[in-house]
């Protein structure tokens, strides 16, 4: 292996420059694939099928420049997790598989003006109260019980519905992408089955790697941007990670099946059936885009309801109003999504469906789609770590538009399968160790979930973020460390 190549068991990557590796175009690949990683991360990435999957992604019609794997990439189904693919919105396609099952799975962060000192001694009470009041796990219901009419409203209007129904304030909308309402959402394109699954899950975390975490800010790396984001050391913040629940999962599968039935020709050209895509301009592409946008709205409402409920829990535990504790939404990011965006491709503006699956939009300062509140400094990017490691707040970096269609990583990325994790860890031990050694209070529906999500099963989030920062696609602003964590 020379210094300028990396041999990954049969796939050779060529070094373009520091942290940028390329798999050259060959066979039916329409463009080269790129992997953004340090060598230690590449060593991990090469161990599963990530590289094969990012190569497969380059077979999608209309793929522009490169299929790109983020530093936290790992094997998914079809498209790798940590993948970015920009597909031409006129001559290309849109791929439900490249968005993922959990449409608009994402993360939001809420600030408070509490300090860690004020919270210490109350952790057990807080974690119990959050666990009792925020539905999690399978069959745990949702914060609101709604009929199909309300589901349709949520799908069409997003957080605006939450505002009207007392689960949000105006300010929340101003700190959410698209002000919490995706245009072009079409509730009629979401199946009855999907709505039936969604109606009992509005305002619920779900299980797996989804969680709600109370955190303390341990480091602010960039004082000016930190100030613009309202972050300072020792401050308490709340991070919420979840998605569109069964409604989104069902929507993805409904459209994968429709594509299989209606666009077999395109499907047969692809190396993996999970890459199933609808040709741009087809009725099915329009329908999926309308349904996906509706599911995006559903997920935003889901995270909004959980955030608003968290405010009420804090009011009870700390015996003062949430306004007094300045519990304000910092930002909400999606990391399973496709959006029609305009990008500069070789000097020409092109409309692209930018698919980010396990990748986060990271638009830089000055971009018109960054909300006004942050336009001068760049879009906040929230990168959750594992429950024993820190999370990060980044800002969209100035190289992101050139390198990654305005994207960066989404989290630590799994290293170990769930079955292996359960062999190596026992939930009770993990929980005790976190509490005794790190003062992290964890409460979960299932011990197995704690074992499966043990800190040791994730990649090193510090290294993922370091690479993002070095590349200038997402710059480090602040780091947080868990205090209380609830999960399914």
């Amino acid at each position: 292996m020379s210094e300028s190549t990396f041999d990954a068991d049969g796939i050779t990557l060529e070094k373009v420059r520091d942290y940028v590796w390329e798999i050259p175009q060959e066979g039916d690949m329409r463009v080269p694939a790129r992997v953004l990683a340090s060598e230690p991360l590449l060593e991990e990435i090469k161990d599963d099928k990530t590289l094969e999957q990012i190569k497969n992604t380059t077979h999608l019609p209309g793929i522009t420049n490169h299929a790109i794997c983020m530093p936290d990439g790992h094997q998914g189904y079809g498209f790798p997790v940590g993948g970015v693919g920009a597909l031409d919105a006129e001559n290309g396609c849109i791929s439900p598989g490249a968005v993922g099952y959990d449409i608009n799975c994402g993360v939001r962060m809420m600030r408070t003006n509490l300090t860690y000192d004020e919270l210490q001694g109350r952790e057990a009470e807080l974690v119990d109260s959050l666990f009792a009041n925020v539905p999690s796990g399978l069959g745990g219901g949702g914060i609101v019980e709604a009929g199909i009419d309300a589901v349709d409203e949520i799908l069409a209007r997003g957080v605006d519905w939450a505002l009207e129904n007392g689960h949000a304030v105006e300010e929340d909308l101003l700190h959410c992408e698209d002000e919490g309402m995706r245009e072009g959402a079409d509730p009629d394109k979401v199946s009855q089955k999907a709505k039936d699954r969604g109606k009992n899950q509005i305002g619920s975390l779900g299980s797996g790697n989804h969680f709600l975490e109370v955190q303390r800010v341990t480091d602010v790396f960039d004082g000016d941007v930190g100030e613009a984001y309202g972050l300072e050391e020792d401050q308490i913040v709340v991070l919420i990670h979840c998605g569109s629940r069964g409604l989104g999962h069902q929507t993805c599968n409904d459209y994968l099946r429709k594509i299989e039935q209606q666009h077999q020709g395109l499907l047969n050209q692809l190396p993996d059936k999970e890459l199933a895509a609808a040709p741009a301009g087809s009725q099915l592409a329009e329908d999926y885009y309308g349904a996906m946008n509706a599911a995006i709205n559903f997920a935003w409402v889901n995270r909004q309801l959980i955030m608003h409920r968290t405010r009420q829990v804090f009011e009870r535990v700390f015996d003062r109003s949430w306004q007094e504790m300045e519990m304000e939404l910092l930002y909400d990011v999606a990391h399973n999504i496709a959006k029609k965006e305009s990008h500069d491709v070789g000097g020409e503006q092109r409309e692209l469906y930018v698919h980010r699956k396990g990748a986060t939009r990271a638009f830089p300062a000055g971009h018109p789609e960054v909300p006004k509140a942050y336009r001068d400094v760049g879009q906040p990017v929230i990168i959750p770590g594992s429950m024993g490691a820190g999370s990060y707040v980044l800002r969209g970096g100035e190289n992101s538009m050139d390198l990654t269609f305005g994207s960066t990583a989404h989290g630590a990325g799994r290293l170990m399968s769930r079955t292996q994790a359960k062999d190596e860890f026992w939930g009770g031990d993990v929980q005790d160790q976190l509490e005794e050694q790190e003062q992290i209070y964890v409460k979960a529906q299932s011990g197995a979930t704690v074992a499966e999500e043990a800190p040791g099963v994730y990649k090193d989030v510090d290294e993922v973020v370091r690479v993002s920062d070095e590349l200038g696609i997402g710059d480090k602003v602040a780091r947080t460390f868990p205090v209380c964590n609830i999960k399914g």
Binding site: Y101, D102, G139, D196, N200, G208, C252, E452
Partner: protein
């Protein structure tokens, strides 16, 4: 984890970085379908109680054999969410192919082209364990990724491999 509770069928949970895969075998197409579904239940819950819950029936139709397996598993996940029950102890009573009877279809191997309008169909039952009574993790969806459904290499019975998103 493995399960071979019923004669003539078995499953194994396999490692997959972010997800869970089920490898299953069965003497017949019906049994391999049920074995994959039992694998889905095992992937959702480590400790399935023996007695609780009522049996219910379901039927599924699809345009090919693989699509039928996909839609069967998709339906089970859907029913879990709307019934608030984890379906376990799966029995697939009957699979019918668009051709005359199941046996003919079973021999045609991987050729699923045929008449696109003709449907494969399946009748099955399962016991629904109330989610409130168990620690269950959410399997989000069945995937087509790496899915295999084929004649066993020794020519006896069927083998299937299915990855689930968790």
């Amino acid at each position: 984890m493995t399960g071979d509770r019923s004669p003539g069928q078995a499953f194994e949970l396999r490692d997959h970085t972010a997800d869970i895969a089920v490898a299953a075998t069965g003497d017949t197409l019906e049994r391999v379908f049920a074995a994959v579904a039992d694998g889905l239940a095992a992937a959702s819950c480590d400790d399935i109680p023996g007695e609780t819950g009522e049996r219910f029936s379901l039927s599924v139709t699809a345009e090919s054999r693989e699509a039928l397996l996909f839609d069967y598993l998709d339906e089970l996940i859907y029913l879990r969410d709307v019934r608030n029950e984890l379906p376990v102890e799966h029995r697939v009573e009957r699979i019918e192919s668009p051709e005359v009877e199941g046996a003919t279809a079973a021999v045609t191997g991987t050729d699923d082209e045929g008449d696109a309008d003709a449907d494969w169909s399946l009748e099955a039952t399962a016991r629904g364990v109330p989610l409130a009574e168990i620690d269950a993790r959410e399997v989000k969806a069945v995937t087509y990724s790496e899915m295999r459904l084929e004649r066993a290499s020794d020519g006896e019975g069927w083998e299937a491999y299915v990855v689930f998103d968790v």
